[in-house]
């Protein structure tokens, strides 16, 4: 199975509405893959908050309205921040029945006020156990960060470095939310507290944006990139239902299965897009994905391994923190970046010698997780 076409919009505060964003991404993914809309057999659409924030459900039918007279199967899939990866996985499954399918993820978040946004994003956690006790999204990861920092004697300084690297990477990605904004170490250190110990720049921004991918059963062009493995795993929704908060079981299981399916070990990965919704989740992901042992991720960061040019370049597009987090499009944007790198079309941020890349996308506080491995054919 192959990725034939990719596209993403600019992420950030955009003028376009939800259908316009989705349409833009779909058009350009078709164009990138040299396909016409009539080549597409089915579409998998993902958006996390179109219901609560845009008062729009039945999004699959909205997509049908964007494609008058097409009438193909279109399905919406939601798994919080991992929505588009879940849609991507379903699209892959559907290639048993279809030749060419499309995945499109879109989110329009900035048109709502912050009280609504924060409450809506918190819907990724358990209604009665978490939301009603005031555990919004930053607060959940703040508890995770606190547990991690206590267990492994980590200081906030390492999180500041992660924030700095991601923001700096975004400066070389013209489509990133933070492309034009230079975020200095001083700004990071002095940013206001959101939920202790996390500050503003520990958090990914609220972004609008969309991404789309065309998937084919057969390889057709040299630009096609092979999906070596794609795995999706789940876990209990509330951190109060877990034994260990410093590690996400769903990530570990999806990663193990993905490595097994691909018959590779972590050291083979040349480029990694991981889910840094908050700085702390980057540390935890590096460990859960098997790039180091538990409690050792800070060392990888300190040694510069995750920089472009390091042994394991991470989030070359800026990650969720720098590139933006239009939730329902995020997983596809990660695949967009890896495919761009594998095709050697990444411009100023192009890595050298990239053969195999990985994406890691989680829903909520690790209640769902997707790991995808892609490689040059």
């Amino acid at each position: 199975m192959y990725v034939s076409g990719i596209a993403r919009t600019k992420f950030g505060t955009l003028a376009a509405d939800l259908p316009e964003l989705a349409y833009d991404a779909m058009c350009r993914a078709l164009e990138d893959g040299r396909k016409s809309i009539s080549d597409i057999n089915a579409i998998f659409v993902s958006s996390f908050l179109c219901g609560p924030l845009n008062r729009q459900l039945h999004l699959n039918s909205v997509v049908a309205s964007l494609l008058p007279g097409i009438h193909i199967p279109i399905i919406r899939i939601e798994s919080a921040c991992a929505s588009s990866s879940a849609a991507f996985n379903q699209a892959l499954c559907s290639l048993n029945a279809f030749d060419t399918v499309m995945v499109v993820g879109a989110e329009k978040m900035t048109s709502s006020n912050s009280l609504d946004q924060t409450a809506a994003i918190a819907m990724a956690s358990d209604r009665s156990l978490d939301q009603q006790e005031g555990l919004n999204f930053p607060a959940g990861f703040a508890l995770v960060a606190q547990q991690y920092m206590r267990k492994y004697k980590t200081s906030h300084e390492i999180l500041e470095q992660i924030s700095f690297i991601n923001h700096e990477n975004a400066n070389s990605n013209p489509l990133a939310h933070f492309f034009h904004k230079r975020v200095t170490m001083d700004m990071i250190k002095n940013s206001p507290m959101i939920a202790s110990p996390l500050n503003l720049f520990d958090c990914s921004p609220i972004s609008d944006g969309a991404a789309a991918i065309v998937l084919s059963r057969e390889k057709r062009t040299v630009r096609d990139v092979r999906v070596v493995s794609a795995q999706f795993a789940t876990d209990s929704i509330s951190i109060a239902q877990r034994t260990d908060l410093t590690s996400f079981e769903a990530t570990k299981i999806a990663a193990r299965k993905a490595y097994d399916q691909a018959h590779i070990r972590p050291k083979v990965i040349d480029a990694l897009e991981l889910h840094d919704c908050f700085t702390i989740s980057e540390l935890i992901a590096l460990e859960d994905l098997g790039f180091c042992s538990k409690g050792e991720a800070a060392k990888l960061v300190r040694e510069g391994s995750i920089l472009n040019g390091g042994a394991l370049p991470v989030n070359t597009d800026g990650g969720l923190i720098g590139s933006g987090h239009p939730i329902g499009a995020t997983g596809l944007a990660q695949i967009f970046e890896i495919v761009t790198q594998l095709r050697e079309e990444a411009g100023s941020r192009q890595l050298e010698r990239v053969h195999t890349g990985m994406t890691h996308n989680i829903g909520g506080t690790g209640g769902s997780a997707a790991v995808t491995i892609l490689s040059r054919c």
Binding site: Q132, L143, A195
Partner: protein, 366 residues
């Protein structure tokens, strides 16, 4: 809420009666003491949690079961945390004297938080009516988020003797100092020595009222706002003799029923009515002088001051007679004619136009 299957060693935090793995019945685990294993101070508000900063605690019991709990109070890691508002056991027994709008509303709110509540009403004939009304109210507003609220925590009585074992009494009788004094005299004789007396008075002096009881240290103001279910404020009013233990107890109760307590020393009108009543009185003056229509006065305050309601509509909701009583109290106790109720208010009382409760005030209510 914890359910457990001992055959499969599976836990649920939902009301699961049968294990999906083995088909056997599960057992409900009784929550034991929880200690704080983590916390975050949340500075970003969200819908439903507008008041920041607050703490979100990660708690764990001796079996390793965890839960998240919001609180405005600070606890340290390792500390045991009291779980009022969650634990169904050891709730204070609360007596409400008066079954009017506010008394009934306070009782309803307490029942929603599983507090055993007794309403003292004046006549035996009311007892059945109040039960039926409460049943209807609790049923009507039960959302899927709330478990069904048991009526079994409610008692209604026409006699004071049933209030004997209450931990806290909240008096919500009419705003008349003689009536209230009479009630506290009887309560002093009926209730146990530990019972705290709280009055829901909106303007009467806590110190004057406390003279009518035998325990001024355990006497305090606990001023709720109408409608109780939607107004988050409680004015906790300290008299000269109110002890810090009494204050702490009432603050704790307020927080446990998800109200925001503010502390104010005994003073005429406390904070809210001291600010509100002059505004209502000025609005009445504007109307009396035909400066603007009642609708425009209310719109001005709603849109220009960002109040959810205009002063004249609010006066109708509170009751014109109550407004006059509070204004008169402010006028007398502060010895200041500025607070003297405008003539129009007295005219309305004469006509029986007392606001929403009589169907007519500044506006008419069909």
């Amino acid at each position: 809420m914890k359910y457990y299957c001992r055959h499969c060693d599976k836990h649920w935090t939902y009301r699961i009666k049968t294990c999906i793995f083995c088909g056997n019945a599960t057992q409900e685990l009784v929550e034991t003491e929880h200690s704080v294993i983590g916390y975050t101070q949340v500075h970003v508000p969200s819908k439903g949690h507008e008041d920041v900063p607050y703490f979100a605690y990660l708690l764990q019991d001796s079996d390793g079961n965890k839960m998240i709990k919001k609180s405005f109070n600070q606890y340290q890691i390792g500390e045991l945390m009291p779980l009022e508002g969650i634990q169904k056991h050891h709730k204070e027994k609360i007596g409400i004297v008066g079954s009017g709008l506010l008394g009934f509303g306070i009782a309803e709110h307490l029942l929603r938080f599983d507090y055993p509540t007794i309403i003292k009403t004046r006549s035996e004939a009311n007892v059945k009516k109040l039960f039926a009304k409460m049943n209807e109210r609790l049923l009507r507003s039960s959302t899927p988020d709330q478990a069904q609220i048991p009526l079994s925590n409610l008692a209604v009585s026409a006699g004071y003797e049933d209030l004997e074992a209450c931990d806290i009494i909240i008096e919500a009788a009419p705003e008349d100092i003689e009536i209230k004094k009479g009630i506290f005299e009887v309560l002093s004789e009926t209730c146990g020595k530990k019972t705290i007396f709280a009055t829901n008075t909106s303007s009467l002096s806590i110190d004057k009222l406390s003279k009518s009881c035998d325990r001024p240290q355990q006497f305090i103001g606990m001023h709720f706002f109408n409608p109780v279910s939607r107004m988050d404020l409680v004015e906790v009013v300290l008299g000269q003799h109110t002890s810090s233990a009494t204050k702490a107890e009432i603050v704790r109760l307020s927080v446990a029923i998800q109200k925001k307590p503010i502390i104010v020393k005994n003073t005429p009108g406390f904070i809210v009515n001291r600010l509100l009543m002059p505004q209502i009185n000025e609005a009445v003056a504007l109307l009396e002088n035909e400066v603007a229509s009642k609708e425009d006065i209310d719109s001005a305050v709603k849109l220009g001051l960002n109040h959810p309601m205009g002063p004249l509509a609010l006066a109708d909701l509170i009751g014109i007679d109550t407004c006059v009583l509070i204004l008169e109290t402010l006028c007398n106790d502060l010895s200041c004619q500025y607070y003297k109720p405008n003539k129009l208010l007295y005219d309305m009382i004469k006509e029986g136009e007392l606001g929403q409760k009589t169907g007519k005030g500044f506006y008419t209510y069909p």
